[in-house]
Amino acid sequence: MRCWYFSEMAYHPAWEAGLQRGTLRVVLPSSNFDPPTAHGLLNRYLDEFALCDEVGLDIMVNEHHSTVTCMTVSAPMALAIIARETRRARLLSLGTPIANRPDPVRVAEEMAWLDVLSGGRLEMGLVKGAPYEIQPANSNPATLMRRYWEAHDLILKAMSTHDGPFNWEGEFFQYRSVNIWPKPVQKPTPRVWMTGMSEGTGTLAAERGHVVGTLLSGGTAKPMYDAYRKRARELGWEAGPDRMAYAAVVGVGATRAEGLRRADQIADYVRTAPVVAEQFTNPPGYNSIAANVAIMKAGPRAHRIVKDRQGNTIDHRKATVQQFMDTDTVFAGTPDDVFNQIRLFNDRMGGIGHLLFFGQGGFLDHNDAVENIRLFGREVAPRLQELDAQTVAAAD
């Protein structure tokens, strides 16, 4: 199992203002934002990313818009800096919301440039994006996935075509001359990642051999991984753990109490991230007709909860660390605790090859963040890497 450190570079000083207003996204004005404070935070967060390279962790960056939960507005911009500050870490952009980007060729150029800059260390997430990203991007939710697939196909063709130019006259994108420079180091393209929460996404990712990732709920992840494996078998290949990724909060400490405390602080990210004004949580067309029927039948606000392993419903906005551990949202404790929790989780999921490690959630201070990264990188990640070898050996 590879381990990827991940931080949204939160602007937590404004969380309270957002909670009071009932939304941390889309409509919280930037009068709540102090640039000098953010200057300090951004530089600190980038230092924390750089540390990952020293302790043998890979790195993941994402992006959100119009929100206090995530200051990263451009995954490639953040990765460009991180690429220069690291030597070994693989760099995962997870990712670019390509259905919200007006110019897929520009995405292809930026990804190719990053791959060249980093010497072929890029992993390329092409994501649908969260529902509340629709409003800031003003992209049409009713055609979101059609636009996603057209952009996806165009980006991969642009990066893998070296006898261009070619023209593209699609439903959403039109170019007369696509001929990107530079071309990427990795052939035909850096590995592609998708994110999702449904069996449908698992199936579609399997048809292309992409890595599929999901976050914060084992109950949602398992059916998606199973759908992926099933579809791969139908297509005549066996999907290994390297196609499955899972994002969770991880708190490691010298003692169990210290690990739980760190996880509790990072988990504030999970508690705040879903606090979004209701009207931006389900734009028309973003979810399937069947999902919308279920939401309407359940009544207002009833859909924002996940279930733990015993089938109890957990509200992410108010959950305790223990409840988060019961939904596989959080792994926490000593290095041994965390290793054992992830090992059991890995078994339950049928083998996952990538753990995306939320190691920063706002109020966790720099010293704690550094210790969390060091302990995880040195005492947990190497044992998780061996887990793959054991799984493979057992399978043989």
């Binding site: 003003n138 049409n140 009713a142 007709i289 029927v293 207002p300």
Partner: protein
Amino acid sequence: MSRAISVAGVSLELEERGEGRPLLFLHPGEGLEPRREWFDLLARCYRVIAPLHPGWGNSAVPNWLSTVDDLAYLYLDLAATLMVENAVLVGACFGGWVAAEMAVRDTRQFAKLVLVDPLGIKVGGVLDRDIADMHAIPREEYMRLAWADAAKGERDLTELPEIELAAIARGREAFALFGWKPYMHNPRLKRWLHRIDVPTLLLWGERDGIVSTSYGEAWRAEIPGARMEVIPDAGHFPHWERPQDFAERLVHFVDSN
């Protein structure tokens, strides 16, 4: 009665009631709601033909059909297929936008046009919001803006059968498909409203908070000879909220010379 008809390769669901002069009614983004009183009031006087816009009924919108232009041509084809003559074209809210797009293209089969709180044109500057952003406000605020008396519009969705819920979900998706960007208007439509060459009545809910009566005045100013009447105690859907008043004004306009 309900029936399906194929027009330009699209299967349209129609609700049709009444006899006499044909009246083609194009429904709001919220849906047709043929069980409300307005429909029978109109059907007493006319042969009311009310298609469900593609997506608002039981079938998905074909991928190629994605703009209000497409709907305008589709309904011009429908009118030709049904061979309506001397007909009345009525559109409310989103349906008003579609009706106006038809009327600037071709009025051969229509003798009168009635637009009820239509969306569809841009009047103010870049920072002016002519049309309330129905998708960026809480449901309660939307109801307050869209109805003079929001209680008249409330529905308990949890009680509806799944087939109706699916139609509602599909309709919401289709409304976004056609109207998301530019938001619920065609930046060029206002320029062509001068082409409308049939007598036109604008009916406007006095307390419409989605598109105000001053927005209605802008429509009136652009359509040659158009008249505007304001319906008291009505919001964005006067045909639902004040059906008698709505029907009387419509009939008076249609039946006068």
